[in-house]
Amino acid sequence: MVDSSTRQKLFGTPETNFLNCSKGWKSWAFTLDHKRIGIMYLIGVTVALFLAGVFALVLRSHLFTFDSTMLSDDMYNQMFTLHGAVMVFSFIIPSIPAALGNIVLPMMLGAKDVAFPRMNLASFYLWIIGTGCLLLAILSGKGLDTGWTFYTPYSIDTNTGVIYATFGAFILGFSSIFTGLNFLVTVNTMRSKDQGWFKLPLFVWSLYATAIIQVLATPVLGITLLMLIAEKTLHIGIFDPKYGGDPVLFQHFFWFYSHPAVYIMILPAMGVISELISVYSQKRIFGYSFIAFSSVAIALLGFLVWGHHMFTSGQSLVVTLIFSAITFTVAIPSAVKVFNWLATLYKGSILLNTPMCYALSFIFLFGIGGLTGLFLGALSTDIHLHDTYFVVAHFHFVMVGGTLTALLGGVFHWWPKIWGRMYNDFLGRVGCFLVFSGFNLTFFPQFVMGSRGMPRRYASYDPEFQIFHQLSTVGAFVLGIGILLSFVVLVYAALRGPRCSSNPFRAASLEWQSSSPPDFHNFLQTPVLTDPYDFESQVYDEELDTYIPREFANPDKVAPRKEPVHH
């Protein structure tokens, strides 16, 4: 029987927590605390998101009219290249694993930190240096106009800052590898006693599958970029046809990483959604092991489909057919997840707060994004759709409608845990609505015009497409406002939001057993190991106004579930 003062100490608002336990910039810059590193990463990727977002808005403004002269052709090429490169390498790939994952993963395992905290900090500094190097391409005045894919031979011949950008991406690759390596070891060796694999939250499974990809695929990108730099500087003759090289070989090497990379982007997002859907339906996730295995299946199958980015590159028909067939199979595990989430919602006790709104948006938008991928995976349609706006719309639906939406949902969900303060849910939901509607307005017309022949990466276009571009541009600004509003809501909440309790939403994974904000060491007591989706294990304590594990509760005062208060 735990007494009231112990309960207060364990689950009440603590005086010292990881945020205030040490002060000064050095305590952050040299921290080994995964939670602080995660927050620094979150700030970093947000800056990258805003920078690349500004490039996108410039692009969309230029495209408002079909013959716009707002940007020169060269400037236009630079804008879409930088938008893509910064978004892919500096924002999306690190976002959920390095920002959310770093904060949440060790706590979900009941651990004090990740396996290699110094490697974690190193990964963050590599992110800073890599992003800086990437931005040197801009700051050096040379810019970058090859597209984020750096295709040869143009990337060899152009005088823009390809070397800065590729070296930056190379360093960012190491940041990613370190994060992945750390997570793989952490999940393997630092789980709580008796916490078997099938007692892990699905977010952990998804981060594990992501980490496998990060460790296996990223080094191949590393050597590819080094070879590109060697080709540009020393003319080694591997990709440059002038010296007997094969430019399509670059595409094979590049996509061997970059296709698995998109699964690095989406798998953690799916993991977040599994958490959100189950907590906010207060229902055990349907088909836990199917979702767990599907994450691993996607990670592995994802290595076998890179050629679907190259159907029109001149590769042989045989491999084209094989890649197309396997592309269809990799859609299956993703679909399994979608069905399982929907089944989880069925007869659940739904709380439609901000994170849940994002989770539901995800299912809808990722559904569309994934299905449109099938059109691109089918050979006959891909011939027509390759290099059109259809492709652009497809990947934005999965990356923005998918990953960004899940990131926002996850950030809102774990925000009260990190800061001990609650966000304004009404404004949060307004933000979600603006993001959802702005996003659809931006990218849905792009499917239509893409299928009608509008090519991607074009600075000017036929007047028949103008209306679609205009809808898209308006949508982009709405989307931008939505993201900005969400950002403001979150920052305000972190600094000034009303104090909240350790487990306001009756979640059952281990991180909710720490105080909000957590202590430096995460837990003041060994957390009680419960099934992460057994919500009955958490009971409402009136004194503390929060949910705590049944073992710690006062048996005389076990209350029925209390509806959380909306702010």
Binding site: V185, T189, H235, I236, K242, Y243, D246, L524
Partner: protein, 380 residues
């Protein structure tokens, strides 16, 4: 359970390892720490294998599509030097394994000796490579774009080069090691003078390590002359008195210009492009220079018979061996760190992880060379 103090209270600078506090704060036990480190290093090795795999794939593709390039190019590599390097690295893996064993038994002194031996082997490897590389640079054997084979040996311009008959490039490659040697020797003397014995021992060991490089250079030069007759290396870093006088040229611009007019007829007459190889070889023109007889043999092939793309072999050669050499250097740095810790007596029977992990890394570096050697040197 009290709220844990978030600050590291070990402000005094005694060695943590004296108290056996080698377990990091976030681990529950030494076993968990060791298992984590072990898994971590194995995963890192996996990333290293994948990193090199891109180059191995490039090798495979080019060799499959241009077998003649590989058959022609390998004669310029000295397989005896390559074999020597292989034995040196294998021996270094042995000393490394012995070092790991010594650490496991807590025998810090033995461990430090074995680690030093491993480092010396590593630098010796680099010294032999320096001889190989400088020899090739003398012969104009560079990456594809700069490949310009010449059997005429450039006369050395450096004082040392002139007196020892070694190439300028080899001298340049010895500058940094020489500076390092001088630096470490100076540092060891200074450390001794200010009574920091451990530091002095460390500096002496580093000086010995760098000397291994020069040992490698000497052995390399000797081996190269000794295997003179059987390899294309008689121009190693040693000047011969009767240079061959042929210059080969890579005529890329020439090729491109040609294609405009002649192409249509050629294409009509030769729809399957069977004549193309002959064309390429012809374009690789050779002009006998100042009179004198040209004499060719298996190890000094007539440049005009070589494929236009022969330089691609060397692009791949330099990339693969260069990347490997960079990993050797990284390994030496890690070994130096281990050596320092051995001097401080850190290893105990219940704590020896770092030696184990660096050992694994070192074995991988050796293994990669075991693959490189036959693929590059033993093509026949």
């Amino acid at each position: 359970m009290a709220v844990a103090d978030s600050h590291d209270t070990h402000d005094d600078h005694h060695d943590l390892y004296d108290h056996g506090e080698f377990i990091a704060h976030h681990f529950d036990s030494a076993e968990q720490q060791f298992d984590s480190g072990k898994l971590g290093i194995w995963l890192f090795l996996v990333t290293e294998v994948l990193f090199f795999s891109g180059l191995f794939v490039a090798y495979t593709l080019y060799r499959t599509n241009h077998p003649e390039v590989f058959e022609q190019a390998h004669v310029f590599l000295n397989k005896y030097l390559g074999g020597l390097n292989t034995i040196v690295l294998l021996f270094s893996s042995l000393t490394m394994a012995l070092g790991v064993r010594a650490a496991q038994l807590g025998r810090n002194k033995n461990c430090s000796v074995y680690i030093l031996m491993t480092m010396v082997c590593a630098t010796m490897f680099l010294g032999v490579k320096a001889v190989e590389y400088s020899h090739k640079w003398d012969m104009g054997i560079l990456v594809r774009s700069a490949f310009n084979l010449t059997y005429t040996h450039p006369t050395p311009t450096t004082e040392i080069g002139k007196s020892l008959h070694i190439s300028d490039y080899l001298v340049y490659l010895c500058i940094v090691p020489a500076l390092l040697l001088a630096g470490f020797l100076a540092a060891s003397v200074i450390s001794k003078l200010i009574n920091k014995t451990m530091l002095a021992k460390f500096m002496v060991a580093m000086a010995i390590t760098v000397s291994g490089y020069f040992l490698g250079v000497v052995v390399g030069v000797v081996f190269m002359s000794a295997t003179d007759a059987e390899t294309g290396s008689s121009h190693a870093s040693v000047i011969t008195e009767q240079p061959l006088m042929l210059m080969a040229s890579t005529q890329d611009e020439h090729d491109e210009g040609d294609h405009d007019e002649g192409d249509h007829d050629k294409a009509a007459a030769d729809p399957n492009h069977e004549g193309d190889h002959a064309d390429h070889e012809e374009h690789f023109g050779a002009h006998p220079a100042d009179g004198g007889e040209a004499s060719f043999d298996a190890h000094h092939p007539d440049p005009s018979t070589l494929s236009r793309d022969i330089g691609i072999f060397f692009s791949i050669y330099y990339c693969m061996t260069g990347l490997h050499a960079i990993h050797i250097i990284g390994g030496i740095i890690a070994l130096a760190w281990l050596y320092w810790r051995s001097l401080l007596g850190h290893w105990r029977t219940d704590y020896f992880g770092p030696v184990d992990y660096v050992g694994l890394y070192w074995h991988l570096v050796d293994l990669i060379w075991i693959y490189l050697f036959p693929l590059l040197y033993l093509i026949d």
